[in-house]
């Protein structure tokens, strides 16, 4: 008996689950943006001859939507070309990467309070220590001299203005 003929169509194999989730997320974003285009203000009569401001973004959203709908099935086409869309995402995102993202977001959030110099010191200290760089001498030299040389180069030589912060407040 021909196994292929008798086998039921496996919907699970037709659709890539990760891409289905991406498609749903993208459709939500596209819908939100579409409704936003409906809320664009009306152009003044002076510009009545021009095409409406929402027309071009709406065309783009429709074209993008058309392509997004193909995504869950694209893995079938790619497989034929011996490409594996899941090769890069088989493993879950490592905790190191997620925490690095979080750490940098926190540092950026506090950078206005910290000021430029302390922010640089925080980046140069927090990331290597989190990444298990434990050579104390190397680390201390790096934390002190790298930010200082950056300040010297950009502030004194190139004239880039660095926002003052906590350090300057304490010193003054």
């Amino acid at each position: 008996m021909d196994k292929n003929k008798s086998a039921p169509i496996n919907l699970g194999a037709l659709i890539n689950k990760t891409d289905l989730i991406i498609t749903i997320v993208l459709i939500i974003i596209i819908s939100v943006l579409w409704f936003e285009t409906k809320n664009f203000e009306k152009a003044s009569d002076l510009f009545a001859n021009n095409i409406p401001a929402e027309m071009f973004p709406q065309i783009l959203l429709i074209v993008i939507l058309g392509m997004v709908l193909v995504l869950p099935f694209e893995h079938l086409l790619l497989k034929k070309n011996k490409k594996d869309i899941d090769s890069n995402r088989k493993k879950s995102i490592p905790n190191t990467t997620l925490f690095t993202m979080l750490l940098l977001t926190v540092i950026v959030a506090f950078s206005e309070i910290l000021g430029a110099i302390l922010t640089m010191i925080a980046i140069c200290a927090a990331l290597p220590i989190y990444w298990k760089e434990y050579r104390a001498k190397v680390l201390i030299l790096y934390i002190i001299f790298f930010p200082l040389s950056v300040v010297f180069l950009f502030n004194f030589v190139l004239g880039v203005y660095f926002e003052p912060g906590l350090l300057e407040y304490i010193l003054n």
Partner: protein, 490 residues
């Protein structure tokens, strides 16, 4: 001729020469460091060069772009870790030759082939760019719209896992370009009542985020990778006899590279792979490929450097970027107040010749740097990543902030970095998004102007034979995955 002399005159100021050599040095450095890339370095450089004279700033970036392509080959040959994607094909024979005890010879072949490929493409550039620009001067808004649509469609064939995802990225870039006040109607679009968005998203933080910060997140997954290095005492230049044997391979690859580079959106990586494949196909010693064949080194090297020069042709002559790096150079040109495209060549030809001169100097510059510093550059791959990437983030923050002294731009950079990381994970390229962002204004402006001229009648686009030609090319470009199988079946 007068313009050539003027252009070279602009270039030959002491400060400009130093900046070009600085660009070469940075290019070779970032090229040699796995993870760092020329687009990333150009993105980081843009905010710091904005106060420089335009000739100096753009020349420095063009030099960095040329040298970055070669820099990637050093680590490809010595540690089998291509510093940049275009050097992937070089590693296939470069590393085996180095392992066979001839690292200096492999580096020498790569350097000379790169220089020759680069010079070949610059000769084409100097003749083709003004010619292309003179044709483009006749273009109206409709023709420009056709050209921009064709350039966007070429994103489908850009290197990456999926054509559809490249196109989605490119169109998302175009969509991002619509944020802010619509120039022809004065209507705010997608600003969500955020004041900073009224002028649109600035290129710099997006570029830095997509190329530098997202790479930091990727690299945080592989901080402890250990590499084995082959010691190279010096670079050994090939003899005339050896070069004579390889001349057809170099010439063929240079031609392929220049052609691929000229095509919008096609970059050095595709050129290098094609250069390698063609070198193998025409070789009398196919069995040596993969074991240290000289043709396997000069083929991709001549092609990837030729593509760098080739990519500058559409960038400067049409305002259509030929690759990810040239998209950034294009962004820098716009920030310096230039209007890239045919008017750049017709109104300021000396500027274009100055860039040509800078790229020529860069080609000899990296040969010299390669000759004296190969040993040093093979060592820089060993800079601890745990210290390198925090430094990259510091530069990213300073670059994003200093451009308009706004913390909002730093947040945009971080958001772009996160977006770039997740896009890459799911097969969406960052380079197509950047190209879409940069092409976006041209697409919308030319579309709006055409619609006004044609009284909102879409069919009028088909009245121009040039527009029809671009639409046909777009159709072929988008359908290439289907018809290429028919024509190139084994």
């Amino acid at each position: 001729m007068e313009d050539v002399v003027k252009g070279l005159g602009l270039l030959l100021e002491f400060e400009n020469i130093i900046l070009i050599l600085g660009g070469v040095l940075i290019g070779v450095l970032v090229g040699a460091l796995p993870g760092l890339s020329s687009p990333m370095a150009i993105a980081l450089l843009i905010p710091f060069t904005i106060s420089l004279e335009p000739v100096a700033a753009i020349s420095m970036m063009a030099a960095l772009y040329c040298a970055g392509t070669f820099g990637g080959s050093i680590t490809a040959i010595l540690i089998n870790a291509p510093g940049a994607p275009p050097a992937v094909a070089t590693a296939l024979d470069g590393y085996p030759m180095a392992k066979n005890g001839e690292p200096g010879r492999a580096l020498g072949l790569a350097a000379v082939a790169s220089v020759l490929g680069g010079i070949f493409s610059l000769i084409v550039f100097i003749f083709a760019a003004p010619l292309l620009a003179s044709v483009a001067l006749e273009f109206g808004p409709a023709e420009y719209f056709g050209l921009a649509i064709f350039a966007l469609s070429m994103l489908a064939s850009m290197s990456g896992i999926s054509s559809i995802r490249n196109l989605i990225s490119g169109l998302t870039g175009v969509l991002l370009g619509t944020i802010g006040i619509h120039l022809t109607t004065g209507v705010e679009r997608f600003t969500f009542n955020i004041g900073e968005l009224e002028e649109g998203i600035s290129f710099v933080p997006v570029l830095i985020g997509l190329f530098a910060v997202s790479e930091l997140f990727k690299q945080s997954e592989k901080l402890n990778n250990v590499v084995e290095r082959i010691h190279a005492k010096a670079l050994k230049l090939p003899t005339w006899k050896e070069l004579n044997k390889l001349k057809y391979t170099i010439l063929r690859s240079s031609g392929i590279g220049t052609f691929i580079g000229i095509l919008p959106a096609e970059g050095s990586t595709v050129a290098a792979i094609m250069g390698y494949n063609e070198a193998r196909r025409w070789s009398k010693n196919k069995e040596l490929f993969g074991k240290g064949s000289p043709e396997g080194i000069v083929g991709p090297e001549a092609a990837n450097n030729a593509a760098a020069g080739g990519a500058m042709v559409p960038t400067l002559a049409l305002g259509i970027p030929g690759s990810g790096s040239t998209a950034l150079i294009l962004a820098a040109l716009i920030m310096h107040g230039f209007r890239p495209g045919p008017y750049l060549i017709s109104e300021t030809p000396e500027f274009v010749y100055a860039i040509f001169g800078a790229m020529l100097i860069a080609n000899f510059g990296f040969l010299f740097i390669g000759l004296v510093g190969a040993k040093f550059f093979s060592l820089i791959a060993f800079i601890p990543r745990k210290l390198l990437w925090p430094a990259v983030f510091v530069f990213s923050m300073i670059g994003s902030y200093s451009f308009s002294s706004s913390m909002f731009d730093v947040w945009i950079m971080l958001a772009a970095g996160l977006l770039g990381y997740f896009m890459d994970r799911h097969g969406f390229g960052a380079a197509p998004l950047v190209m879409g962002l940069i092409l976006g204004k041209l697409v919308e402006e030319s579309f709006s102007q055409s619609m006004i001229i044609y009284d909102n009648n879409f069919l009028s686009f088909f009245e121009s034979p040039i527009v029809i030609l671009f639409f046909v090319l777009t159709f072929f470009s988008l359908s290439s995955p289907f018809w290429s199988k028919l024509f190139f079946k084994k």
